[in-house]
Amino acid sequence: MSALMVAVPRGALFDDTLDLLDRLGTDVSEVRGNDRKLLFAEPGIVTMRPSDVPTYVEHGSADIGITGKDVLLEQAQRKVYELVDLGYGVCRMVVAAPAGGDPVASALKRLGRVRIATKYPRVAARHFAETGRQVEIVEVKGSVELAPLTGLVDAIVDLTATGRTLEENDLVVLEEVGVCTARLIANPVAHKLKAAEIDRLVQRIRS
């Protein structure tokens, strides 16, 4: 599998992903011990933030990659193939709001729309559209939990693994949008031209 260039997400999925590659026989020791280096030519690994993985894979700079389903949902327009649900990195995409009352329902009732802060504007917009509610999306880059506490928005759509951060900011989950796990994705051209290498990898992941 040395012929494949793999895009590996730094952040929450990093350790599990390196463990997986380890099990598949890739030497990842150099990647593990190095925070700043980004490209590791020998094992064929590039590291990046999870939301960049679909970009590199779509353009073929990496043949395959690992990223969260949340990223894939938000970037649904990317032309990449989703090959395997890797099962780890389990998170819930939820609608959450300050505890006490239902600010979403009351905003909808009185103002006809709800204001939502999120790092996932497309996922949030789709969720509210599908449930027939008008929404105003406020895209933020940093800690989303802050937005409803300052009155910027009524509620948030965000990813939560343990619920700790929500809890500490007195936010409660109102609805679940979906469950997200890590996925193996492939570049469409590499999927044909490097079929044998990719299939071998997929088979070993599944077994």
């Binding site: 353009h59 700079s61 193939y81 395997v84 469409p188 051209v189 590499a190 044909k192």
Partner: protein, 322 residues
């Protein structure tokens, strides 16, 4: 002072233009040698005429009114206009007819980055040949044209757009349940496909068959290894492989049983064009046996087109390797 142009369009300046011109000249020479005559059709067509070919006017994204209030559309591909030309201008001509083209087509840009609103397609259409012979011919001519353009490692993906639906039918899956399955397949969302196929409630063997097909791609062995209902459905591809072997281009072809194309008018074999230097497909095509009939001249046909600018990127990469 600078002035904007719409995203997805661009100006081509002399240095690039010279290279593009040289590239299309070489491809045109290859088409010409195979007796594909170059054809030009207007960028603007009557929208209702385009609609004859495809309900969505092949996805035409730009419409305008002429001075009489008729709706015009910018063509979104070259194949439907050529079908119109054959029906109108070649009513009695003895098939087969061979045409090639280098024309701009226009599509909407979903996301702004890396997509062209206006793109130059080079392609060929073989009209009136309904068999694997015709398919082998267009594949061979396109492989040669790309070679002439300076590519060395290009490959053609070959699949059958009707295969998966036929499988679903043979397993007794009702038509109204095909949509979600086909949507997952056409995006090669194999996790989503597993979910959708799982919901059909089929016996394990049939379910596994449906999940295996999108992974079946490679050389001749893909066809040989396919058994059961899939294997029986592959006679056309088997024959195509024989013909390609005889023409010496079989090693250029990757059979890909999960291949489906977005355009609605394909009826059988479909193609995609790849080069390892480019992460996107260079182009595609296939067999469209019903399209000409909709314009009033019922002839089978097939064709392939490539995005010339992407071929240029591949060619530049090949040059850098040398």
């Amino acid at each position: 002072m600078t002035h904007p142009i719409p995203p997805g369009t661009r100006d081509v300046l002399p240095d690039e233009m010279r290279e593009l011109r040289a590239l299309t000249d070489r491809m045109r020479a290859a088409f010409d040698r195979a007796r594909y005559g170059e054809i030009h059709t207007p960028a603007l067509e009557y929208e209702d005429v385009l609609r004859l070919g495809d309900e969505r006017a092949a996805g035409a994204a730009y419409r305008l009114f002429d001075e009489h209030g008729a709706v015009l559309a910018l063509r979104s591909d070259a194949t439907i206009p050529i079908a119109r030309v054959v029906a109108s201008r070649y009513q009695d001509a003895e098939p087969p007819l061979r045409f090639c083209y280098f024309t701009h087509s226009y599509r909407a840009v979903d996301r702004g980055v890396g997509e062209s609103r206006e793109f130059l397609q080079g392609g060929l259409e073989l009209i009136g040949d309904g068999g694997a012979e015709g398919e082998a011919e267009v594949v061979t001519v396109m492989v040669a044209a790309l070679e002439e353009a300076g590519l060395r490692r290009h490959r053609l993906g070959v699949g059958d757009s009707a295969l998966y639906r036929r499988l679903l039918h043979s397993f007794g899956v009702r038509e109204d349940r095909h949509t979600a399955v086909m949507a997952a397949l056409s995006q090669r969302d194999l996790v989503g496909l597993e979910f959708e196929v799982g919901r059909l409630g089929l016996p394990a063997a049939e379910r596994d068959e449906l999940l295996r097909v999108p992974e079946m791609r490679g050389g001749r062995e893909v066809i040989d290894r396919a058994g059961g209902p899939v294997g029986e459905a592959l006679d056309g591809l088997r024959r195509l492989h024989e013909l390609l072997e005889r023409r010496g281009v079989a090693d250029r072809v990757i059979f890909d049983l999960g291949l489906v194309r977005a355009l609605g008018y394909y009826t059988g074999v479909v193609f995609e064009v790849y080069d390892p230097a480019v992460g996107f497909t260079l182009g595609g095509g296939g067999r469209y046996d019903d399209l000409l009939g909709r314009f009033g001249r019922d002839l089978p046909a097939c064709g392939i087109a490539v995005d010339v600018e992407r071929v240029h990127v591949a060619q530049a990469a090949e040059e850098a390797l040398r």
